[in-house]
């Protein structure tokens, strides 16, 4: 398999930055999942698709809009009615889903090369993201595992909360470097570390 280049590379500077004299309150990383797949169920086939997700990933999606979960290796969340994003550290997720999600159930779209996954963690993660997105990041409104789709200045973003103070943001690969720079600037005042 061809080695995948990160679109963030020219702006990806490992180390502490910004106002970190009083401690680092934000950790920024690129999670670089091997597979990112979007699944869509035809109307009425949602349950069959959720069952297919369980078969392939072993993850049982909770009920409700935007529900999701992550086991640290594989992640899944709903981002629209009958539509789900699935990410895996390993490659080959699209091929695995293509065997299970039959044309009668829905569609599989391989976005592994089309999206960049950025992780923001730390005590000020909610605070920094609140500068970007007009959605409620408080834990009761946005529980661990859940997903949200929203935009930042027309850059479409899918956000999954993968910890109490950790979020994975999936953005278009072509906008990823610009978004990353904005995220770095927004994190400067609380001190951030790139890992």
């Amino acid at each position: 398999m061809v080695e995948r280049q990160s679109p963030l590379e020219p702006e990806f500077h490992v180390g502490s930055h910004g106002n970190f004299e009083h401690g680092v309150e934000i950790i920024l990383t690129e999670t670089r999942p091997g597979s990112i797949v979007q699944l869509a169920a035809w109307p009425g086939e949602e349950k069959a698709l959720i069952s297919a997700i369980r078969t392939v990933t072993g993850l049982a999606l909770p009920d409700g809009a935007g529900g999701g979960l992550s086991d640290g290796v594989k992640s899944v969340f709903g981002f629209a009615p009958g539509k789900f994003t699935v990410a895996d550290e390993a490659e080959g997720l699209a091929a695995a889903f293509a065997k299970v999600v039959t044309p009668a159930i829905g569609t599989v779209t391989d976005l592994s090369h089309g999206r960049t996954a950025i992780r923001i963690a730390g005590p000020k993660a909610e605070w920094v993201l609140a500068k970007f997105f007009a959605i409620d990041f408080a834990l009761p409104a946005f529980p661990v595992g859940a997903g949200r789709s929203t935009t930042h200045h027309d850059v479409f973003a899918q956000i999954q909360r993968t910890g109490a103070d950790q979020f994975d943001i999936y953005v278009f690969r072509s906008f990823a470097r610009s978004f990353w720079k904005a995220l770095c600037h927004a994190s400067e005042e609380v001190g951030y570390e790139v890992q």
């Binding site: 809009a65 629209a80 007009a134 409620d136 935009t151």
Partner: protein, 98 residues
């Protein structure tokens, strides 16, 4: 202005795209009834009050929504998925459904 998407919850109007008047009744594509086509393309109720509209949550779940918005106050009194309900507002009214 906030629109409460049935999937995503309350979101700023900037995430939504207006898709047009929800009262229009599209004639059969094979129809030669020019009056009906003219009405479909040009005639609008333009109410000062509640208005049936179609919006898309383009910056979110991308679902198409049937929204009732008050044109005087911008108050949104109802939001529902268009999906699963392909009957137009006019037909729904004629059938006594809304």
């Amino acid at each position: 202005m906030l629109i409460t998407c049935p999937y995503c919850g309350p979101r700023d109007v900037i995430e939504f795209t207006y898709q047009g008047d929800g009262n229009r009744e599209r004639p059969d594509p094979a129809s030669q009834n020019f009056e009906a086509w003219n009405a479909y393309v040009y005639d609008r109720l333009n109410p000062a009050g509640d208005h049936n509209e179609i919006w898309q949550h383009s910056g979110g779940c991308r679902a198409h929504l049937r929204v009732v918005r008050n044109t005087l106050t911008h108050e949104i009194s109802s939001v529902a998925f268009v999906r699963g309900d392909h009957t137009s507002i006019a037909r729904r009214k004629a059938e006594g459904k809304s």
